[in-house]
């Protein structure tokens, strides 16, 4: 699995591959690892499929009740906190690495990472899953502050396609979910377009890298 989320001004972009494997057999090559928790808050799942599905279902239920009581949109921080509570208190029995990404009217776009033990960290961008190890260098060199929505989408597609190439447990299609105040859009990058994602806007990023090198 490779999952990723990036925050931009006004929203977040969530991305994931689509391979579920049992050992070395590909049980599902078109799985959906990005699940909605609330209208503008979605989660990327990695680790045990059963555990993450169960946790996501619990959190969805709690947040549903919570936002109805509140009468307002829930905070992304609240959703992440609920998820963290379940992961931390059941840490001995769960194997779940989650990334919560969403938009709320109070703090805008936010990304929270909840790795295995139940830590919670707010970050500008987050990586997870077995494939993430292969792209830390790539992501560190290409990430810039203040990227636009389109730039974030290209960044996510490029990174995940690189991880899919190197990691045997990641593959299939790239699923992207973009969340903004105006709404949520889902995309699916298939087949040869995945390879193309590795080369998309190479000049654009190369320029960015050069710029940073010049700045020192």
């Amino acid at each position: 699995t490779t999952i990723m989320a990036v925050q931009f001004d006004g929203g977040v972009v969530l991305g994931a591959d689509s391979r579920t494997s049992t050992g070395s057999y590909v049980a599902n090559r078109v799985s959906d690892k990005i699940v909605p928790i609330h209208d503008f808050i979605w989660t990327c799942r990695s680790g045990s499929a059963a555990d993450t599905q169960a946790v996501a279902d619990y959190v969805k239920y709690y947040v549903d009740a919570h936002s109805m009581e509140l009468g307002r949109l829930p905070r992304v921080r609240t959703v992440a906190n609920l998820m963290r509570k379940i992961c931390y208190n059941n840490k001995d029995n769960l194997m779940a690495g989650l990334i919560v990404g969403g938009w709320d009217p109070y703090e805008g776009g936010q990304v929270y990472e909840i790795p295995l033990g139940g830590t919670i960290m707010r970050q500008k961008f987050a990586l997870g899953g077995s494939g993430s190890s292969y792209i830390y260098g790539l992501v560190d060199s290409y990430y810039r502050e203040g990227m636009t929505r389109e730039e974030c989408e290209i960044f996510v597609k490029k990174s995940i396609s690189h991880a899919m190439a190197r990691d045997g447990s990641s593959g299939g299609v790239i699923r992207i979910t973009t969340i903004q105040s105006t709404g949520v859009q889902r995309q699916c990058i298939l087949g040869s377009d995945v390879c193309m994602a590795m080369r998309w806007n190479h000049d654009y990023f190369y320029h960015g890298l050069n710029q940073r090198l010049k700045d020192g």
Partner: protein, 204 residues
Amino acid sequence: MSITSYNGSALIAMVGKNCFAIASDRRLGVQFQTIATDFQRIFEIHETLYVGLSGLATDVQTMYQRLKFRHKLYNLREERNMRPETFASLVSAMLYEKRFGPYFCEPIIAGLNEDGTPFICTTDLIGAKQLSKDFVVSGTASESLYGACESMYKPDLEPEELFETISQALLSSVDRDCISGWGGIVHVVSADQVITRTLKGRMD
């Protein structure tokens, strides 16, 4: 993880009308990490005899080197190339020599007899020969490969059709296996020519 699925591999050989085809994937990995995408698993012994080796990559290379050596020696002594059945017996004997400390590879032997009829067989890692009239498979994706070949295979295919069939069977099977894939290479061998093609598949 089992030692035979440490590097990942997928191999098929199929029989056609006076020809045969042998195909393999190209990935070399270390468990789930991809290291190389151009690993050679199919080797030519002589013009009408090919051997494909699946399993642990180091044993693939060592087995090939040993077989090449033995065939060259045979050629010098007998002043002719080995027949496919003879070669299959050689492979079987060499593997059984290491019965209690085997090479972790499962070879596929494919060749044309002197009269032009194709011959294929496979052995397990300790040399048990298994002849087949239609197709043989080997590697980490072998279960998928069996299913794909069983449904796609037809007897007496011409070289071009055989190429299509074996390619589709290989690609669809490796797509369901995390540790094999990254394209393919297919050799279609008839009495007068060998056509080698590389396949572009999913690079994940």
